[in-house]
Each structure stands twice: as C-alpha cells, then as structure tokens.
C-alpha cells in the first residue's frame, strides 16, 4: 500500500445503500439492487474527487460472526489491516437493527465514521436523531447523509480523512460490569503480539468461542484452558451460552443508545406501509404481481408501444428504405453499404458476407434496442422503487406452500436482466440443496436477451396486431417452469429438505434517483449493443461461412457460384449437414429442419443470436426481427403453430448462453453438478416442447406414438407434483443449513 493512499472500507447491513454510496463516491456503476446479497464480493475504486482515496464496497452483513461467506469476506477484509478507516453505513430509518453491526465494527479498533443514510426519510418521518450524543456513545464521528439525494457526502469524506489520521479508535460502549470483568481477564491472557487497539475485539471473539479468531490468536495451551474456564464460569453464572450473553449485552447497549439519541415521531402508518397492505396482501399480492409483469412485457412489445414504434423505425427506415431528417434524405444502412461495396467493386462473395451475413445478423439484433430500452426502463423502475423486493416476499408464500424458499426467487428477479448475475445471486442461499436447485432453475426466467426471441415467436404465431398478450405468456412459462421444477425436484433425494428460512428487509418505496435508474438501463442496453458488435458479429460470420460453403456434386466451394445460382443452394451447405445430423432429436417437437436446429444451437452463444441467425439463414437481410417478411419466412419452417410454440418453449427453457453456463460451472464447482444442471434444463425444455407439440396435434386429431409418450410424461409429472412430500424428505437437512453457501460444496 503506498503511503499516500487512503483505503476506505464501506461496511453495513444488506440493503442499507452501500453500493449507491460507492457509486456516488467513485462514479462507478456497480450493480445496485433492492434486495440483499447484490454485492457479491468487495469492489474497489478510487474516489472521484481524490484519486489517492481507494474506496472498497463490502458485501452487506448483519454481524461479524462468520456464518455466511459475505460475513467471512467482510470480516477478513476489515481485520486484514488494509483499511485505514471504515465508513459504517447505517439505514437511519432502521437504526436499532443496524446498530448491532455498528457496535461490532467499532469494537474492531479501526477508525470508524458512522454514516446515517436515508437522512431525508428520517426527516420526512419526523424522527430526530441526536448525532452528537450518538457519536459520544459510539466513540466515532456520526454524519447524516442521503446517498440517493447526494447530501452530506463531502462532510462524510472529510470526517473519514480526519478519522483515518487518528489511526485507531476506542469503543466507548460498555457491557454489564460482570461481563466487562470477564473480558478484561481474557484480554490479559491474550498474547502480547495482539495490538492494544485490537485486544478488546479479540477478547470478545474468544469469549464467543469464535473458531477463526481463536485460530488467528493461537493462545498458549494454558491461556486457552484459562480462557475456557473463565467463559464456562460466566456461562454458569448467567445461565446462558457465551454467544447469547454477548448478543444480549449488545442489544442492551443499543437500547440505551436508542433511548438517549433517538426521538421517534408518534407512530403512524407510512406511505410504504399503506402500499404494502395492498401490494403484499395475502390474496391480492400474487394477482398484482402477475398484472404488473403482464403490463411490463405488453408495453415493451405491443404494436402500439413506443418501443415497437422505435423498432419499426429501425426496421423500415434504418435497415429498410432509408429516412429523411431535416429535409435531407438518408439511405438505409444496407443500402449505403451495398452502394459502397458496388463502388469498390466487391465480388459476390464479399457482398454476400457483408450484407447477408454481418448486416443481416447484427442488424436483426440491433433492431430490438428500442424495445429492450423500454423493457429495462420498466424493470429498472420496479427494482429501484422497491417493488421487486416485495415480489420476493409475495412469492415466498407461494414457494413455501410447495416446500421451496422465497430466497430462491431473488436470483430469478435478478435474472430478468441477465442470467449471469441471477446465477451468481444464488450464493445468498445457505442450504446447499436449495442453492443447487435454484442455480438449475434460475435461467428458466426469460432474460433480456430472450426478448428478441419472444418477439420473433409471437410475430410468427399471431402477427403484430395481437402480439402484446403473447409476450407475457412466455415470461410466465419461465415462472411456471421454475415452480414445477422446484416442486418435482424437492421430492427427490438429491434436493429434499426443509426450505431455507427467508428473512428480508423491505426497503421503503421511493422514486428512483434518475442517475441510478439511468445506470441500470444503460448498463443493460450497452451490454446488449456490445454483444451485437462482438460475439454476435463473430457468430454471424461463422454461420454465413457454414451456410454459404459446402459440397455440391463432389466439389467444395462457395455454393452460389458452384451451384450455378441454384435457389436452394443452402441445402448443400455445411450448416445444413450439421443441422440435419442433429435435427432428428427435434422430430417429436415438430421442428427438425436444419435451419431450426442451427438457430437453436446458435442460441447457445447468446440467446438473441437466434434472431440474428434466423435473419441470415432466411435471407431477409435488410429486415430486423420485427419484420413481417422474417416472421413469414420463419413461420414457414414449421408445419403447425404448435411446432412454433414448441420451438419457443425449447429455446427459452433449454441451456442458457455460454456465459451463464460458465457461471453455473463456477457456482456448482463440480463437473457432475454442472452436467446435471445443463442436462436437466435441456431435458425439461425438450419435454415441455414435446408436450406442447403433441397436445396441439392431438387437438387437431393427430395421434402417434409420441402422443403416448407425451401423455405418459405428463402423467408422471402430475404424479410427482401432486404426491405428498415423502416422509424422508425433511429428515436430513439440519446438517446442511449451516454449510457454507459458496460455490464449493
């Protein structure tokens, strides 16, 4: 660490606004979520106004007792000696609960500045906090701030710099005199190598029989025996275990602090509580969630919506006939590029590569940007205002009825943006079986990249006039797939066990800050654009090559030339050969052409790639994914609407993109479990596709051996869903609950 650098650690409870403050201080756009566990590990960046200050955002925790990976990460960092000062962020509207961690951080002996966040809400509630009195009782400066409204930040930084100069702090709070005597005795037994500023902290930790702290301190055998004797005597005197004694003492200190420093306004129901009475109502909660998500997807994709109008403009003007701006006529992108290629004298091969391959593929994906923008505006608003946190609470009731935990729904909420952070968010689930199951099912929820696929499907199924209602159906297909999978898997030996207890703080409703809202939207839209020009660009080039080169009459070459301009030249391509070899797998699902198989495979690179490749394969180069010509050509690949729906269900539920699969691999930390997860997703998707297609055909009066298979599988699934929970299912979970929730099993 350079001497001129100042390391500032941001610590605090989950969901108290650490990442919002971190972003504000550093100008970063770290992911801010309205649910716990969003910050996965520490994040570092330099202070915008002073590059010599390095700010570290730590995961949110409730205490420094190392039960969860977040607590281990935060405690290890605080005790590593790296931070010069800790900014202990407290949600001032929940001061009593937040002070529990604050007391422990102060006990660490590090210089601490206490930041009371959400000062604006405290003022609005009419509560009064005596910051001077609080500062005296905690032995650390206290600053009122609002990270969301950007108030008190300069004062906070100045206080942090002053505190850092003091090098260490002395906790002012005292426990009951009998406990203080015990702690004094333990302090005296600590090795001399433990610095004075840390002796109190380690005395408390050794009293709590904290294994990690004991290992670090490594007291002599005699000292360890003496300490154990002191603890045992204290436990006998207090008739309680050591950990509970300390917890009780801390709460007693907090009660005194609250009494002396906080004046609560006469209690009245807040606006958030009034909204929650309706939104989280036992009966209305779920229908309201369904209605809201229905509205979100309908607005993002319906024919009359702004997003669709934007996409139409991209389709008709930017990639169609060109457009006029300020009286000047501009050609379309394909038109302009075609003109340039012709002027340069490019050959047929190069023109085809650029126009039919790159422009068609990348253009088809880019065409969805306006719709993606609208979707993310709405989803980000729901997340930032605090509504999505309520959804986890509402879904906990539904999930618990089936033996699942609402905790499993948080990763699924995160996955509506992208499956990667969704899978990553599963680490907050302590129960290993529940965590694995959530990893396996999280990517069933349609991520943003699946929106173009949904738009293509609904265009092919019903056309744009009625498309608005189709899109939410695919979202709820994902939710239903999660619930059905969860219910079935929970009754197997691999995943049996009681659901993880779910405790969650619900943030007060608030209008999101425009900066945070915009960062959320931009982060997702920019990533989408970046993908279009990188991975999707590369795959369109590869697919164009595979589709335009092949063997015709024993000769290998550029098919449009060697076939003599044969219209069906792609049937001789390498892609057709690969697609035909694999296509038989999808015969029962109603689509087995090489084109649909190639699209499904390309979706593994990135889900939106499916639309880009569809555009390339179907040779509607100047059309984006919302073009009626593309819908028509795409629909023509399927014999029935049931087969289109089966294709959609398979591609939306099967293995996610490679990035998400990589994350699954990392989180499972086991090749076997990764194979089980990917295999289950593909198998489940295939079965859902099979049932959709076969039951559609049955309704049309078509009966085959696959109909029987579909009926048998449906009957088995219904049996597994509705049979009572086996008696052994809840017997073996106790040992697992405290297991580390990290990637390694």
């Amino acid at each position: 660490m350079a001497a001129s650098q100042l390391h500032v650690a941001l610590a605090g409870n989950p969901n108290c606004g650490k990442t919002t403050l971190f972003n504000l201080l550093t100008g970063q756009n770290g992911y801010v979520g309205n649910w716990p566990g969003v910050t996965v590990e520490k994040k570092e960046a330099r202070l915008s106004s002073d590059a010599s200050v390095i700010v570290t955002d730590l995961p949110g925790i409730y205490s420094l007792s190392p039960y969860s990976p977040e607590e281990v990460v935060s405690r290890d960092y605080l005790m590593s000696g790296e931070p010069d000062v800790v900014i202990q962020l407290l949600d001032a509207t929940n001061l009593e609960r937040n002070l529990y961690l604050a007391l422990q951080v102060v006990e660490c002996g590090l210089p601490v500045v206490v930041a009371l966040n959400m000062a604006d809400l405290v003022e609005k509630n009419g509560d009064k906090i005596d910051t001077d009195a609080l500062s005296k009782r905690l032995g650390a400066p206290v600053v009122m701030i609002s990270a969301l409204r950007n108030t008190g930040i300069d004062e906070l930084i100045a206080a942090a710099k002053r505190a850092a100069a003091a090098k260490h702090a002395v906790p002012e709070h005292k426990f009951d005199s009998a406990i203080e005597d015990v702690l004094d005795k333990i302090e005296k037994l600590l090795p001399a190598s433990v610095p004075a500023s840390k002796r109190r902290y380690y005395a408390v930790k050794l009293f709590e029989r904290d294994e990690a702290a004991t290992k670090l301190i490594n007291p002599t055998k005699e000292a360890a025996a003496a300490i154990e004797q002191i603890i045992a005597q204290c436990e006998a005197d207090c008739d309680d275990d050591a950990e509970s004694i300390i917890a009780g003492e801390r709460y007693a200190v907090i009660a005194h602090i609250m009494d002396a420093c906080v004046k609560k306004a006469p209690s009245k129901m807040s606006v958030s509580e009034k909204i929650d009475r309706v939104v989280t109502n036992r009966i209305l909660g779920l229908p309201i969630f369904v209605l809201i998500m229905w509205a979100v997807y309908s607005i993002a994709t319906s024919a009359d919506a702004f997003g669709t109008a934007g996409t139409d403009w991209v389709n008709d003007c930017l990639f169609g006939d060109g457009f006029e701006l300020f009286g000047m006529a501009f050609p379309s992108i394909p038109g302009a590029i075609e003109g340039m290629l012709a002027a340069a004298g490019a050959s047929e091969l190069v023109t085809s590569l650029v126009l039919d391959g790159i422009v068609a593929g990348v253009g088809a994906v880019l065409g969805f940007i306006p719709q993606m923008f609208v979707l993310f505006v709405l989803l980000s608003f729901l997340e930032d205002c605090g509504y999505l946190a309520r959804v986890a609470f509402v879904m906990d009731r539904v999930f618990r009825r089936f033996g699942l935990s609402g905790k499993s729904f948080i990763p699924m909420l995160v996955a509506t943006g992208c499956g990667v952070p969704g899978v990553l968010a599963t680490k907050t689930i302590e129960n290993e079986k529940d965590r694995r199951m959530t990893v396996m099912t999280t990517t069933f929820i349609p991520c943003g990249a699946k929106l173009p696929v949904i738009a293509l499907l609904m265009g092919a199924l019903v056309g744009d006039g009625e498309a608005g209602w189709i899109s939410p159906l695919f979202y709820f297909l994902g939710v239903i797939a999660v619930i059905v999978s969860g219910v079935m898997l929970k009754k197997t030996k691999l995943f049996a066990g009681r659901p993880t207890p779910f405790v969650m703080e619900l943030p007060a409703y608030h209008f999101p800050s425009l900066r945070s809202w915009w960062l959320h939207i931009w982060e997702r839209v920019s990533a989408y654009i970046k993908k279009a020009f990188t991975i999707i660009f590369a795959s369109t080039v590869v697919v164009w090559f595979l589709m335009n080169f092949g063997v015709y009459e024993g000769a290998f070459g550029f098919l449009p030339e060697i076939t003599g301009g044969l219209e069906e030249f792609t049937s001789y391509s390498i892609l057709a050969m690969i697609g035909t070899a694999i296509g038989w797998v999808f015969i029962p699902l109603g689509f087995s052409s090489w084109e649909t198989t190639a699209m499904s495979i390309s979706g593994l690179v990135a889900k939106e790639n499916l639309v880009g490749i569809a555009s390339t394969i179907l040779a509607v180069g100047d059309d984006t994914g919302l073009s009626p010509e593309l819908w028509q050509a795409f629909g023509g690949l399927f014999p029935t609407a049931g087969a289109i729906a089966a294709f959609g269900a398979f591609n939306l539920l099967c293995a996610p993109c490679f990035a998400a699969m990589g994350t699954i691999r990392a989180q499972m930390n086991s090749a076997k479990w990764t194979a089980i997860a990917i295999g289950y997703e593909c198998g489940f998707a295939w079965i859902v596709g099979l049932m959709i297609n076969q039951f559609y055909l049955l309704a049309q009066g078509v009966f085959s051996v696959w109909t029987v298979v579909a009926i048998v599988i449906a009957a088995l699934m219904l049996f597994q869903i509705f049979r009572p929970m086996p008696h052994w299912a809840w017997d073996d979970d106790r040992a697992e609950v405290k297991a580390p929730a990290g990637a390694a099993a």
Binding site: D76, S347, A527, Y528, I535, V541
Partner: protein
C-alpha cells in the same frame, strides 16, 4: 478477387480474431450483462467473480490475514 475484396475480408477476419482474443482474455464474462464494463474485466481472464465462485473470492480475501 480484387483488392477491395481482400481488404474487406482482412477487416472481417481481424474483427473475428479480435472477438475470439477478447473472449479468451476475458472469459465468458465478455458476454454477461456487465459486458466487460465491470472492474474485473480489466484484470483479464478469471478475474470475474461470476466465474470464480464465492469461496475462492473469500479465500483470496482471507489470504495473508494474521
């Protein structure tokens, strides 16, 4: 094949190679929602916490703690 064809094909090939190198350097993180805009992307392959797993992150942070 004319000079224009060669130049365009070279540009396309360079683009594809750049994408492959980017993916090799940054792992699958090149394709996540952060789109390499996160801090970890700057530090090359394996720096992404999504690909490490929480235990490894915890181990690294705990390394050297006395």
């Amino acid at each position: 094949m004319g000079i224009a064809d060669i130049i365009i094909l070279a540009l396309v090939a360079a683009g594809v190679i750049a994408v492959i190198l980017r993916a090799r350097k940054k792992g699958a993180c090149a394709d996540c929602a952060q789109g390499c805009s996160c801090d970890h992307a700057k530090h090359g392959a394996g720096a992404c916490p999504a690909l490490k797993g929480v235990d490894r992150v915890a181990d690294e942070l705990g390394c050297g703690v006395r």
